[in-house]
């Protein structure tokens, strides 16, 4: 059975950052266009229903990361409730609550050390060589600058926690 947690703070916070979410009338337009839902991923209409009432359960927290941010839902939404942004805000609230998914932590670590969010694998190097492209490594000064920015803003702290 699904456990639903009512979180009043979440509802109030969401109302302050995304007031338009309250305009959702559950027409299901977002669900119809969502490419992730078609493959059993996130269900934007359900997210909207739960977000507005401040009930966010554990199952939803997992599926929150299956949104690709294509923003089809926001484009389709007839009431301008902007489900794509609501999902982004919910992700932020999950992360700031300390539940950082492993892949995100790895990505942040990678950004700090290489300046890129995606790994340069052996396949990358092989493909780039075949296509006659330069190696594509980020210069060390640029990485150092990016790391300094991370340390001065939030990401450095988030990684070292």
């Amino acid at each position: 059975m699904r456990k639903t947690v009512y979180d009043r703070d979440l509802a109030l916070w969401l109302e302050s950052v995304a007031p338009l979410a309250m305009l959702c009338q559950q027409c299901g337009g977002c669900a119809a266009v969502c490419p992730s839902q078609r493959h059993g991923g996130i269900r934007p209409a359900e997210v909207m229903a739960r977000a507005v009432s401040g009930s966010c359960d554990t199952l939803l927290k997992d599926s929150l990361w299956l949104c690709a941010r294509c923003m089809s839902c926001s484009e389709r939404c007839p009431s301008g409730a902007d489900p794509g942004e609501v999902i982004a805000h919910l992700r932020e609230s999950v992360v700031s609550g300390g539940e950082v998914p492993t892949f995100l932590r790895e990505e942040a670590q990678r950004f700090l050390t290489t300046g890129l969010s995606f790994p340069r694998t052996g396949m990358t190097k092989k493909m780039r060589k075949e296509l006659g492209l330069p190696d594509g490594e980020v210069p060390a000064e640029a990485v150092a600058e990016a790391r300094e920015i991370c340390m001065r803003t939030g990401l450095g702290r988030a990684v070292h926690e």
């Binding site: 990361w65 690709a68 941010r69 982004a88 992700r91 932020e92 999950v94 992360v95 950082v100 892949f103 995100l104 990505e107 942040a108 950004f111 300046g115 890129l116 969010s117 995606f118 790994p119 340069r120 694998t121 990358t124 493909m127 780039r128 296509l131 006659g132 492209l133 594509g136 980020v138 210069p139 000064e141 640029a142 990485v143 600058e145 990016a146 300094e148 920015i149 991370c150 001065r152 803003t153 939030g154 990401l155 450095g156 988030a158």
Partner: protein, 112 residues
């Protein structure tokens, strides 16, 4: 097309989809577009996952890329829609004077 551009290919395209970069360069060369790689380009801090961890970091590093391009007075051409989203949203957010002041402070600390 005589306006010089900076090509910013991001991080997903150079690492996982390099053929997109190769074909874009091929097209740009054949259209005789005046372009160069954005110097000192890192990842824009992709707006889908990483941004949720630290909004400020995303804003500062996107602003850094914009600052580099602004220094040379060139427009930025992105290949990836994520990079476009990052830079466009950052530009929009930075229209707020208070935010811009705060981000300039961070960028000033790294010598930009």
């Amino acid at each position: 097309m005589s306006r010089p551009l900076y090509l910013f290919s991001g991080c997903l395209i150079p690492t996982r989809l390099p053929y997109l970069e190769a074909s874009s360069r091929f097209v740009l060369d054949n259209m005789s577009v005046d372009y160069a790689d954005l110097p000192g380009a890192t990842c824009c801090v992709e707006p889908i996952g990483l941004r949720t961890m630290a909004r400020e970091t995303w804003l500062a590093s996107s602003a850094r890329l914009l600052a580099i391009a602004e220094e040379d007075g060139r427009d930025v051409l992105t290949l990836c829609n994520g990079c476009y989203m990052s830079l466009q949203e950052a530009r929009h957010v930075l229209e707020d004077d208070r935010v811009r002041w705060r981000i300039n402070d961070v960028l000033g600390g790294v010598g930009r």
